[in-house]
Symmetry: C2
Subunit: 333 residues, 2 copies
């Protein structure tokens, strides 16, 4: 069972893998993986993953056989274990608990070659529905306080398999970055009585200099103070607290916004690796909170995080977001 | 003039380089730099850096000529500019100020080949004195609230030049990671009436399982909840708030502890790139605070930070610190 341990000074939790512990010789520094070779995510290899949790399928095909469109499976090497109690415990001045949680892989499509940015809009839409269905299901498990959906594309962004996929981790605590964002938004609301994300949408739509793309439901911007060059956010244009509570037409427009943005980034940055993260409201939060607004943050891996950033939490960004947005806006896809 | 911009949600400041703005074609993804070639930090090339701020020299040699031991110069491509006022300003809901600050390079020695871990103890000690002298000097500039000293070793850790060096950045604000650490330590103190770092030193000395090295003045440990495999901290054994206020014998013992630790890490991890950061008390803090304790954190670059870590602030660490500490303890240097 992995352990969750809390840093006693700043309260950050870390997941310590106690079972398959890595020794120095297990780290192969920035070694390129061979391309090609066997892929457990390809159609026809369904028996090489743990049994599927859900899949969207054509023609009534059977679970764990070919014929799927999107397929969700448990991570074969999970960071957290789905079974067991939480068991909080002290160790002198330190705190720990069992590493309980869900770790799932969303295999976005059957093609080994196609990146998510090369998908058709309706294929991206199926992936977005799979995210939604998994959130709805996992919310029923009362051990979990937060469900994080994210994608690592390309090895420099941490992807260990080439075949396009995203991941889901359900956690027994609200992670600190999320808590921080919620608290920041709450403070703003108590001062201004307006949602800060709604204010951002309003100001960016007026200003236009950081807008990349928009449709009826979503605004895509390079944010005012981005950590990384070409960092790009997708925000619902109206106040929406929960990703999983969207209207049917909204998932359609989100698919369009996400696909267009990823394609623009792929062209601008020559398929640079990236991460995206869905920032969603924590599970136990009351419904209809007026201060928080879910959104997606996309971060291309163009720069290295070094000592200054680790020490300060300050980032040095060599590309003003106005320049990045203009560049992305001008690319036709 | 670079701009400091504040993220309106969580209050993180970023430095936006507005002058030498990078376009997509300026990013060369993980391209190896050629080894060898011209080095502005080598002895004899003193005129290829901006004029030196200070140096320790042998035999009364002249500034900006050979004959130095440690040499401090302004960064040729500074993230912040030393001249100008701070000029805070609002932009609708956003906040920004001028990117004022100092950005210096501490060239640790004349040899192009020798890593800091290969230095003799007294050579490391000279570097530590240079850090101290620069802090003492920059504290006089009332525009600055924090002085961060850090080292990026190896390209994967963000070093752009091979010749061994560290960096100093003086900032017009206390960066959020520092503020967070100070606040966490303050909260602990107000609850326990003990310094959390003193408590960590006490518990680790008793427990022994995470101790890497110790001498009269310093304890070297792998912390209980490390973000990264083989993360290692150096802590003063008694309560010390300011790096720059050490006793002469303490810098001697710190040099020994740092050199030994870096050497153990270099052997264990086959010269893996790393960052180290001196976590020091902010400038304007009252003297003799009972709750904070300066220390050094060393972070080898063995794993990649990916979507989950960016989104959650949670880290997945595949090496328990007890295993890492045992491994490092057993290496004789």
């Amino acid at each position: 069972m992995p352990e969750l341990r809390k840093d006693p000074i700043i309260g950050r939790w870390v997941i310590i893998a106690t079972e398959r512990a890595k020794r120095p010789s297990d780290f192969k520094v920035s070694q390129e993986k061979p391309k090609g070779g066997f892929c457990p995510f390809c159609e026809g290899n369904e028996d090489k993953t743990p049994p599927e949790i859900m899949a969207y399928r054509k023609n009534g095909s059977q679970p764990n056989t070919p014929g799927w469109i999107v397929r969700v499976v448990p991570n074969k090497f999970p960071a957290l274990m789905i079974e067991g109690g939480i068991n909080r415990e002290g160790l002198g001045i330190y705190d720990k608990m069992n590493g309980v949680g869900a770790h799932e892989v969303i295999i976005e499509g059957t093609s080994h070659e196609k990146a998510l940015s090369d998908f058709a809009d309706d294929e991206v839409e199926s992936v977005l529905w799979a995210y939604r269905d998994r959130i709805i299901d996992l919310k029923k498990d009362t051990r979990f306080k937060y469900i994080m959906i994210f994608k690592n594309h390309g090895e420099a962004a941490g992807a260990s398999l080439e075949h396009t996929h995203s991941q889901l981790i359900a956690l027994p605590i609200v992670p600190r970055n999320v808590a921080e964002e919620m608290n920041g938004a709450k403070d703003y609301y108590s001062y201004k009585e307006r949602c800060i994300f709604c204010d951002i949408v309003r100001q960016e739509k007026n200003d236009k200099s950081r807008v990349v793309f928009e449709n009826d439901d979503y605004l895509v911007i390079c944010p005012f103070a981005p950590k990384f060059p070409f960092e790009t956010w997708i925000l619902p244009k109206t106040h929406q607290t929960h990703y999983e509570d969207g209207q049917v037409k909204e998932y359609k427009n989100l698919a369009k916004a996400l696909r267009t943005t990823l394609k623009k980034l792929a062209i601008a940055l020559n398929n640079t690796p990236y991460n995206f993260i869905i920032h969603n409201t924590p599970i136990m939060t009351e419904k209809n909170i007026p201060y928080y607004h879910w959104h997606i943050e996309i971060m291309p891996s163009l720069t290295k995080v070094a000592g200054f950033e680790w020490g300060s939490g300050f980032y040095i960004n060599p590309t003003p977001p106005e320049n990045a947005a203009q560049h992305l806006r001008d690319i036709q896809v």
